[in-house]
Symmetry: C2
């Protein structure tokens, strides 16, 4: 049996940790694993330093996520899900002292292997790895587990559209649907629960798209004023960069906006180029087709820096 | 062996017909079946009364589709794909005279069974039925067939988001990917080949969304002038209604616009209600979650008629 499954089975009190600004993959993986460990009678707690976006509240355990862990608490194991680096868990150094063993489960190619045990594979999603792990633990997948893992997988495959969507991903999806995951119900919650603020900010962003580099790069940049006018908050803007990428011929898409603390957040998306190189160059990270960075300058300066970096690195992307 | 497979195998010269205003299901099914029949050395022609939208031009055979059939030509069989009624093929009465047998392959629940043989099943897509048919014909699925059928299936399942997305659909998708279908390549062509006209008309439509009936119904209505200003054509507007449906709490979404010949085209979408009843009432048709109609009146009159009909029929939907 795999070492990680063995260690998990030996642990009694387990803390499952998500990354900062949690997305569907880290949340779905955490909720799915929590449901599975509960079936093994484990004492499980879920932790996220940031708020869980409303669209994931339908998942079992999502409402039970803790945002603060008392410093006196002790755990047999900390399971980090979907975290390329321990820095993705802001309180990691403190939590590490409270947990006997760190288990690192992730699918990012550049994972820093910060765990005592690392279960890192370069596949579609952490959800797909947790699916494997649950099989290793010999837990029968029920509707709650299936729903959570399905949510994790669709988040990181762009609902079966990205190049990490393998035949195996579809095989797993088929199994999860057989075990009770309802694709329509899940995708309605995740993709069809938009607020008018989300629609308004998307319309604003679409009206401001600029196309450069002979149609190969497109971006939209919004000021704090424009965001406030649409009454939009950060989680309303998570899919705008994906939308910019849907333009024909566009190979790299970017969405930039002023944050509440005066910095510039940039989401990068690509069809076939490696935008992780761009993000890394600017001090950020992520996947080859989806990466991001926050930089400290004006919006116009950020646009210029981004375009210059894309131009300089183009041949390597 | 199934009667339809038997008749197909006996036919030598086959005319494959798509429905008017062809979508990915009818086009993908036609291209996939054509590739399969070619492997059986059949003499195959594809016919569509209307233009094939550019986003499907990547499919093998899509560029070979005929838009006119000479009246002197004779065929052993006409295979109608994804046509609920023979009226969906404008030249059907003439073509019928030129073909020995009519084979009707479709997944619409209200199919009028107009064929000499009807292969009608209430499943995800005509693509899923053609997959079964190709298995019956014992043709090995190659990359071209897999790509075409995958395209058909994603079109009518909303890329695996609608309630017709069964465990079996995912099993078939897995098989098609194994046989060479590339989800990223296909979805980039279909969903990420938007023109600026498409982006502009979407932004215009999003800015005009009206929410009624306590947030349960949302619609957007565009005049011919607004459409012309965005330089949009009919195929640029096919996904706007889907977008309106993404609003949280919205059960029925509608998109109305003035057509070139002064009529009003309405697309209806729902999360859980039956919009086919609304479309039928107004003289149109379609599926329970996706239906449509063209009516002859002013835009304001159309909005009023639509809202009144939804109100009157609400309890049955």
């Amino acid at each position: 049996m795999n070492k990680i499954a063995e260690k998990t089975l030996k642990s009694k009190k387990i803390l499952i940790c998500m990354h900062v600004d949690p997305d569907g993959d880290t949340i779905g993986s955490a909720c799915g694993l929590a449901s599975a460990l509960k079936k093994l009678k484990k004492d499980v707690e879920l932790y996220s330093s940031s708020k869980i976006p409303d669209i994931y509240k339908f998942l079992n355990y999502a409402e039970k996520v803790k945002h603060k862990i008392e410093k006196t608490k002790k755990y047999d194991a900390l399971v980090a899900l979907d975290c390329a680096d321990s820095k993705r868990i802001p309180d990691f150094e403190q939590l590490k002292k409270q947990c006997k063993i760190i288990i690192n489960v992730d699918h990012h190619i550049d994972n820093s292997l910060f765990g005592d045990i690392n279960f890192v594979k370069n596949i579609s999603s952490t959800g797909e790895i947790v699916y494997e792990l649950i099989k290793m633990l010999k837990v029968e997948i029920n509707k709650d587990i299936a729903t959570a893992l399905f949510s994790a997988i669709i988040t990181d495959t762009g609902n079966f559209r990205y190049s990490n969507t393998s035949a195996k991903v579809f095989k797993i999806a088929s199994d999860l649907v057989e075990k009770g995951a309802n694709p329509h119900f899940i995708s309605t919650n995740i993709y069809e629960s938009k607020t008018m603020a989300e629609i308004n900010i998307l319309a604003t962003a679409l009206n401001k798209i600029k196309i450069v580099f002979n149609g190969k790069v497109a971006y939209s940049a919004l000021t704090k004023k424009e965001i406030d006018k649409a009454k939009a908050i950060e989680e309303n803007m998570s899919s705008i960069a994906d939308f910019v990428r849907t333009l024909k011929g566009v190979e790299i898409a970017a969405f930039l906006r002023e944050t509440n603390d005066g910095k510039i957040k940039i989401n990068l998306r690509s069809k076939n180029r490696n935008v992780r190189i761009i993000a890394k160059e600017l001090g950020g990270g992520g996947h080859t087709k989806s990466a991001g960075v926050i930089i400290n300058c004006s919006l116009n300066k950020a646009i210029n820096t981004l375009l210059k970096t894309i131009k300089n690195k183009w041949k390597q992307l």
